[in-house]
């Protein structure tokens, strides 16, 4: 089971780009990388998932280097409503084994 390491907290300002990096040194060949967002008193919400290189959707981008031992979630032009906890997970393809870590608490300031 690949363990993930993220910064405990980050601060940013409205309009800035935020990059949150996750380390997963023991990632296996068939592991996927998934990011979730969680607001207080709500369940986590899926943001993005990737296997290698770069993935982009309407809310974020995910950058994965060739060795796949880390990944970076990029949030363009954050707003106050992006203040939340962000979780990086590594899950085996076809295997139901997923563990949440402590996450990164992002605070966006005006």
């Amino acid at each position: 089971l690949a363990k993930t390491t993220q910064p405990i907290s980050m601060d940013s300002y409205e309009g800035q780009e935020v990059n949150i990096t996750c380390s997963h040194n023991n990632i296996a060949t068939n592991d996927y990388i998934t990011w979730y967002q969680q607001f207080p008193s709500q369940g986590p919400r899926f943001i993005i998932q990737g296997y290698k290189t770069k993935v982009t959707n309407e809310v974020a981008s995910l950058f994965i280097p060739a060795d796949r031992k880390s990944s970076t979630l990029s949030l363009p032009r954050v707003s106050l409503s992006d203040t939340a906890v962000y979780y990086c997970l590594v899950a085996k393809g076809g295997n139901n084994d997923m563990r949440f870590g402590a996450g990164t608490r992002l605070t966006v300031k005006p």
Binding site: G43, F46, A91, G94, N96, F100, A102
Partner: protein
């Protein structure tokens, strides 16, 4: 947009009492998860179902917790007897195939007094 339903949203119970939580996943989602989240921590997987079968319950405290998904649709998580340390948010999630994209419900906030 389809959502995962959970009830109740809030529950206050005294220690040693029994408590139950209900979850109705998104229609067609074969995989269902129950998580426990203590304030300030990430969700901890308690049990995972594939249809009506338990796939993983290695983190479920089986002396007091039980979970079922009899018809492979909705699910119930029970605690008996409740202890003070069980106070937490209990989250239910479902997914179409495997763990790739889970959809979470609003959770049940349990307070044990």
């Amino acid at each position: 947009e389809a959502e995962v339903a959970q009830s109740p949203r809030y529950k206050i119970t005294e220690k040693s009492q029994a408590v139950a939580f209900w979850c109705d996943p998104i229609s067609g989602h074969a995989t269902l998860y129950w998580y426990r989240q203590i304030l300030g921590q990430g969700p901890e997987l308690l049990v995972q179902f594939q249809d009506e079968s338990v796939v993983d319950d290695s983190q479920l405290p089986k002396d007091r917790f039980s979970a079922e998904r009899l018809k492979g649709v909705d699910s119930t998580l029970k605690i008996q007897p409740a202890e003070l340390g069980d106070s937490a948010m209990y989250l239910c999630a479902s997914s179409l195939v495997g763990p790739y994209e889970q959809y979470f419900g609003p959770g049940t906030r349990l307070t044990v007094t």
